[in-house]
Symmetry: C2
Subunit: 261 residues, 2 copies
């Protein structure tokens, strides 16, 4: 039985925003990132330059001495990556919100190391309070990944693949979708020669207030008040944007229904 | 011509979250809040206790010595309030995002004093960087309101009623609607026995990142990647929530169209 108690050497498969942010955080926490593999060679070299590690030419020829292989690749590639890895004693673990732990079942010891956060190009994320969700093929793996995540964040928890999927779905609602709404607002203001900057204090306060008030009690706005005049004026103003109008109508209907029926 | 150059005494008509936050900020900035009127007497008394001012029994009998009458009432009541006010030399100004300055045209001097922010019960908002949008019936009024807003915030600008309406519409997209999405996520997680707390670092980072990256480049997630497997899995998971499913589908379609057509 290999000793997982202290993960020290880590390899990365994948070199995107998530991989880069994790690698920087792990390095800062004293871990050794030894190697990276990515089908996009120039991407892998960028990662290797930043982190100061080697680049593997093929998945099959990856260094087999690492304690952990963090797999941060598109979901539909995880299973293939798992099957293409050479024999080693280390743990392959994926970082996906939606893929089951079973997608790595071709390796005896395997796990999941999922940080619930959005990682964007050229933006370094502070991992200190990011929730890390852990799964493992057995208790040794679970403990090893928990200890590792604990070096990055004060917010580490073991959950099932099904719970992780629900968190991932919820994350789309609180991150990807609000960002799309920000982008609609940016378009509306641009058209008027008004800067998106004016909205930044409001965006921040809207996000901050749900840290102390539940979103259901924090709801404000014309739909919440069932203020028909304002709702009508807004819909008129949106006549030149049929798609934004449709979205405005659907969300407003849902808010009205929630608070006024 | 009354001297508007230095507003010192202020009365409030309306005693809700916006009025309370403004009054606290103005008081801290050295202004004197002398009186409040609200049709809801117990609400008015709460405001008066907090701010230490008198309560007017009727709109018609309001103290006529103030330099400014800040009107923070529902939009459809502004015009009536304007017409019911007694004769005075001070400026009535409303705080609405959507109402035209003309709704106060029954008074010779009048204006708009609109803070672009969300004000929620029992939450004190820092006004220092909140954008204040000013309109006035003439340059004296505009200058007086600009000087006043400048005592609260470093972000003061004169705009037209039409531009203000666009800002108000954009504000719904970046504040009221994201909050509704937060509340959907809370419901989904509750059903699974998972806490909304897990989403807070993600919500904060999503809001923070658009202060340095435009929302269009900050977009991430399955729809942005056109990741059909994940989109399908999420839609399956939403089968028990037909309304959330409809919203998920509409927003995802719009994101896919924007980045992949």
């Amino acid at each position: 039985m290999p000793d997982f108690s202290t993960i020290q050497k880590i390899s990365f498969i994948g070199s995107g925003n998530l991989a880069t942010n994790l690698a920087l955080g792990l390095q800062k926490a004293g871990l050794r990132i030894v190697e990276v593999f990515s089908p996009d060679k120039s991407h892998a070299r960028q990662f290797a330059n930043l982190i100061n590690c080697t680049v593997a030419d093929h998945l099959e020829s990856i260094n087999t001495e690492s304690d952990l292989y963090l797999i941060a690749v598109p979901d539909d590639a995880i299973e293939d990556v798992g099957r293409s890895l050479p024999q080693f004693n280390g743990i392959p673990a994926h970082t996906s919100g939606i893929s089951s732990i079973k997608s790595l079942a071709s390796a005896k010891n395997h796990g999941v190391f999922y940080p619930l956060q959005t990682f964007t190009l050229r933006r370094k994320v502070d991992l200190a309070h990011v929730p890390f969700f852990i799964e493992g093929s057995d208790n040794h793996v679970i403990n090893a990944l928990k200890v590792l995540a604990g070096k990055l964040s004060d917010n580490v928890r073991e959950i099932t693949s099904d719970q992780r999927k629900q968190l991932h779905l919820a994350a789309v609602f609180v991150s990807n979708f609000p960002n799309h709404l920000y982008s609609i607002a940016e378009n509306i203001l641009e058209e008027q020669g008004l800067g998106f900057d004016f909205l930044k204090p409001l965006i921040r306060e809207t996000a901050d207030k749900v840290s102390s008030v539940s979103p259901a009690s924090a709801q404000t706005g014309p739909a919440r008040r069932n203020d028909r005049n304002t709702l009508e004026k807004h819909l008129e103003m949106l006549e030149q944007y049929p798609e934004y109008r449709k979205l405005y109508q659907l969300i407003s209907e849902q808010i009205k229904k929630k608070y006024h029926e």
